[in-house]
């Protein structure tokens, strides 16, 4: 059987399992309320009197920081706690197939949350004439960012059988990956006398910096490559950890 079918089967089960419990609905509502509040309440979407979505996308990294770990924390931790990992990994699939299926399910789930923000595009289109190329670009960037955060979450979930630990580690790693490119932090570090080459090199590894240009409507293949790199790296780390610790 082709690996795609097996990945699809794992994906299907995992994706459906979100909706088997209230988790999915709580998550979707929380995501929409948070992005809505931050866009309209904090970023003053109306008051800016501009039909573009940069204030909307501005907050996405921080919303993902909180919510993506909640969506990924159970992916491996639950399997280990319930012992189903022994069932899953003695079926005729490889660990990679299981891992990719799970990752894609979580990413698609967050993608749905993102897609449900479409009314804001309608609002902007109704009030003015936004640049739809830039809007598309912003969504693409946000989706890629979500993918990187999901991969970090998958890795964190593989570390222990506790969901709480999975959540906290995902939060901490994602926070670190964001903050190293956050302008106030970058400027503060530069003021300490750290050579600017070092500061820039570290900042260029940040999830935030690569999102910045896409948020404003510029697609650079280097940014896409960066997110793909983070995803591959984190999934590989998850593979290694799961393989060595699955029985513990």
């Amino acid at each position: 059987m082709c690996p795609c079918k097996k990945i699809k089967t794992v994906f299907g089960r995992e994706f459906k399992s979100y909706f088997d419990s209230p988790v999915a609905y709580v998550f979707l509502v929380a995501f929409l309320v948070l992005t809505g509040f931050l866009t309209f309440g904090v970023a003053m979407f109306y008051e800016r009197r501009q039909a573009d979505l940069t204030p909307f996308f501005f907050w996405h990294p921080w919303v993902y920081l909180l919510l993506v770990p909640a969506a990924t924390m159970g992916l491996w931790a639950e399997e280990r706690r319930n012992g189903t990992i022994e069932l899953l990994l003695t079926l005729p699939i490889t660990l990679w197939e299981a891992l990719i299926g799970k990752f894609l399910a979580a990413w698609a789930f967050i993608g749905i949350a993102l897609a449900l923000t479409f009314p804001i595009v309608c609002t902007a289109a109704w009030l003015g004439s936004p640049d739809f190329g830039a809007v598309f670009c912003g969504y693409l960037g946000s989706f890629l960012l979500a993918g990187a955060a999901t991969a970090i979450g998958v890795f964190a979930s593989s570390l222990s059988r506790s969901q709480v630990i999975g959540f906290v580690i995902a939060l901490a790693v994602t926070f670190l990956m964001l903050i190293i490119g956050f302008d106030p932090v970058v400027n503060a570090v530069a003021n300490w006398g750290v050579p600017s080459g070092v500061v820039n090199a570290v900042a260029s590894c940040s999830l935030l910096q690569h999102f910045e240009s896409m948020r404003r409507g510029v697609v650079d293949f280097a940014d896409i490559g960066y997110y793909a790199g983070v995803i591959v790296f984190m999934l590989t780390a998850a593979q290694v950890v799961t393989d060595s610790r699955k029985a513990s």
């Binding site: 189903t84 069932l87 003695t90 079926l91 005729p92």
Partner: protein, 241 residues
Amino acid sequence: MLKVENLKKCFGSFQAVKGISFEVKKGEVLGFLGPNGAGKSTTMRMITGFIPPTSGTAEICGHDIIKDPVGAKSELGYLPEAAPSYRAMTVTDFLAFIAKIRGFAGAAAKAKVDEAIEKAKLTTVARQTIETLSKGYRQRTCFAQAILHDPKVLIMDEPTDGLDPNQKFVVRQMIKEMAAEKAIIISTHILEEVDAVCTRALIISRGEIKADGTPDKLRAMDPSGKLDVVFRNLTMEKEGK
């Protein structure tokens, strides 16, 4: 059908399994006996490909578990200890997931699921979520996933552990019904199980095989002719009790 060659497993400096070799043929039900911590589950987990052996290997219907793990796993049905399953799913959905992963689709998948439900006597609870079921039914649901694809080799880790006498009887009945066509391994520390279902038994202690033979042959190892005495002699003296 199943060949195990010098399987060893170390956890750090602790040697859990110290070189186990045996074969199981079609029609045999092999009982894996041993006290808790003897290495039964570890051995089974290595044969089923869940954990890699430190050295040695096993062959399932000609598929080497190290070189061709997916091929080996597709010939194998496995009931892990404590019978895990995805509890939020219904019995039917859970078995349909297993059928799909095992490469069945459409009508063939449905037929396999229905057949497994019937064989494991789960018809009355097929639409319930697994978390609402009693332990006996949960055990049988996991049993159903192990036999769904009609595997040639069936490995069960304590399949009757924690069940009431009636449930034990049902599970043993199911094992007997399919024994002729398969090679089956059952681990247990319940000695009555050996007489109830096994055609042959291995006694394992501290990661080594201490005895191998039919239940009658094992019984003959002690003048008393009692299996529990033989079991104690073989496993307790070595533990220095």
